[in-house]
Amino acid sequence: MPRRSQTSRRQLRLGLAFASPWLIGFVALVLGPIAASGYYSFTDFNLFQSPTFVGVDNYTAMLDDDRFATALFNTLYLTVVGVPLALLLSLGFALALNSRVRGLPLYRAIVYLPTIIPIVVSVYVWRWLLNAQYGYLNRILGFLHLPQPSWLEDPAFTKPAVVLIGLWMVGGTTVIFLAALKDVPRETFEAALVDGAGPWQRFRAVTWPAISPVTLFQLIVGLITSLQLFTQPYLLAQTRLNAAAGGPDDSLLTYGMYVYQNAFVFLKMGYASALAWVLFLITVAITAVLMLSSRKWVHYGQ
């Protein structure tokens, strides 16, 4: 008996030794900073001087912070509108690309293309496409006799502009849906066809159950990405002086941007850490609700 436990202890040590590069990295670069931010969230910390403990002041300060409310609202808006739209669109693309049409590889490439363009470059291009006076988008709208909004200057249209850019970049999601569609059992599909099921019934009864686990995965990933949205609104709101801009009427101020501004522009690292933890809790809560709801609509196997 003692001999055996010695072996297993030896193996445990060996295993840990082999895993140590990752373990050390994880503890030092991931777990450590997370724990540190948890501690900083209860302090007044400006990055340069030692933090002083302030209790829950940073958390209660959020209750009186207009810009916190604005940032939270903007982020939820972009998530609630943007994520379902992006999923619907990419599912539509995937279904279309799954059909047997000539030149499919070309279409697939076209749908995927925007995702390989560096995001900073594409947002700068979109800044010009969305220009109220000279932008192509408004030129097309004018041609169709539709209203031509000031996309980046009118607070009512800045968030739709961000959603629009997001929809342009659904290539990655589409490709994952496409792979899932390839796994839909052909026999079931053909059986439904023989039984006289129409296209909608086939999708509803055969395709959807088969791709629902992937949809849940994409929904959660999309949600987390959207709650942390930074690059697109940051670049669209950027001003010449590189100040802490949030777009017209702060309409582009996302939660991620507000965390960044507090940490690195206002040098309120304690408050920024508290904000980050609140976002984490919000993300956990929304994900938990989705996971619970998934019992009703996600099907795993037979």
Binding site: D44, N46, L47, F48, Q49, D64, D66, V120, Y124, N131, A132, Q133, Y134, S150, L152, E153, D154, P155, L235, Q238, T239, R240, L241, N242, A243, A244, A245, G246, P248, D249, D250, Q261, F264, V265, F266, L267
Partner: protein, 425 residues
Amino acid sequence: MRRRFLGALAAGALVAALGACGGGDEASGGKTEVVFSYLWAGEEAAALEKIVADFNASQDKITVKGVSSPDFQKQLTSMSGAQGSFDISDHFGSGVGAWASKGILTPLDDFIKADGYDTKDFPAAAMSQMVYQGKTYSMPIALHTQMLLYNKKLYAEAGLAGPPKTTEEWAEQIAKLTKRGADGTITQLGYANAEINTSFTTLGFMFGGSWDDQSGAATPANPGNVAGLNFYTDNIPGKYGVEQVRKFTSGFGEYASAQNAFYTGKAATIIDGEWQPVSIKKFAPTLEWGVAPLPYPSAQPNLTGTTQVTTSTLFIPRNAKHPKEAWEFMKYLLAKDAMTKFSLALGNLPARTSLVDDPQYKALPQFDAWLGALKSANARSLASSPWAAQYSSDLALAFDDIAQQRKAPNDGLAGVAQKAKSYAP
């Protein structure tokens, strides 16, 4: 000066694309290496490198290595460690208080005292920004003032003889200089903001306002500030429709390019700084332009010659490896000879009163107007408070709300006053 903003913009977008630079402590042949990281880039950096080379040749104890690093965030984060990557760098006067209060900067008083260094030649409006709680944390290397620029060709077309003296005259001229199509579409504006925060804070000063009081507290809702912003909303969006103005100004080209709205004649007047003579020569050499003192309300002639002074500064971070040698180099840059070369190359105002009348500045067209403004009794500046970044951000938001007529000026500025109550000292 403006180019480093653009540089910062580009760099901000490509954060960390260019990683490590600086560092290097090796004493080459017994010399101490001082790293000078600056926010300037391009031609301005080249002009600066010449001065660095002059300094290196002038003595045999210190070698200065210049690094162009126009990234505000990188500059800030590299000052947070125990050992910094640079010994001397540049920033803005309005930011001194924020950094000094957080212990980011090395106080220069001991150096000044030990050397018996004379700071009297630096204008008081600039030096007051360098001091935080009685200690000097930075030195001014260049100054900036704001003046009224006007397009002479558009003035002639509108049958106007010359620039306005009073704000009332200016309002009339703006109306005559604004052109619209039959459907209300604007094709030319009598006045446009060059940069909304600077333009609006300057408008506040022009109407007798102030953005902070003697004790250093924020006073955004000062009646003069409200009057200044009312002037803008009454004469531009209030008159021509906020939608139309928004649409027209959204088509303005990049600031530092030939498509600048003032260079292309889309805006007939602007309030802008002394870098314009050099900038116009470069981007719009055929532009016929003039410069005039900022107009004053006719009821308040005591406000004649109002301008806003801003400062470019040099500082030594608290984690500099060689603060003493950095101070030696700083003194060299602040001396008349280097400062003249530097300000001439950048088209900035020198930070020494004894240089204001230097004939070398006559080479730049109409530059003397901005130089002269330095001597004005109404040369005003923003306080360099610990919370300057947050104040500036809150003002930017309110200014945008006001310009877009979502809020009336008194309403928007009262909102900032409310937020200012929670600014941490």
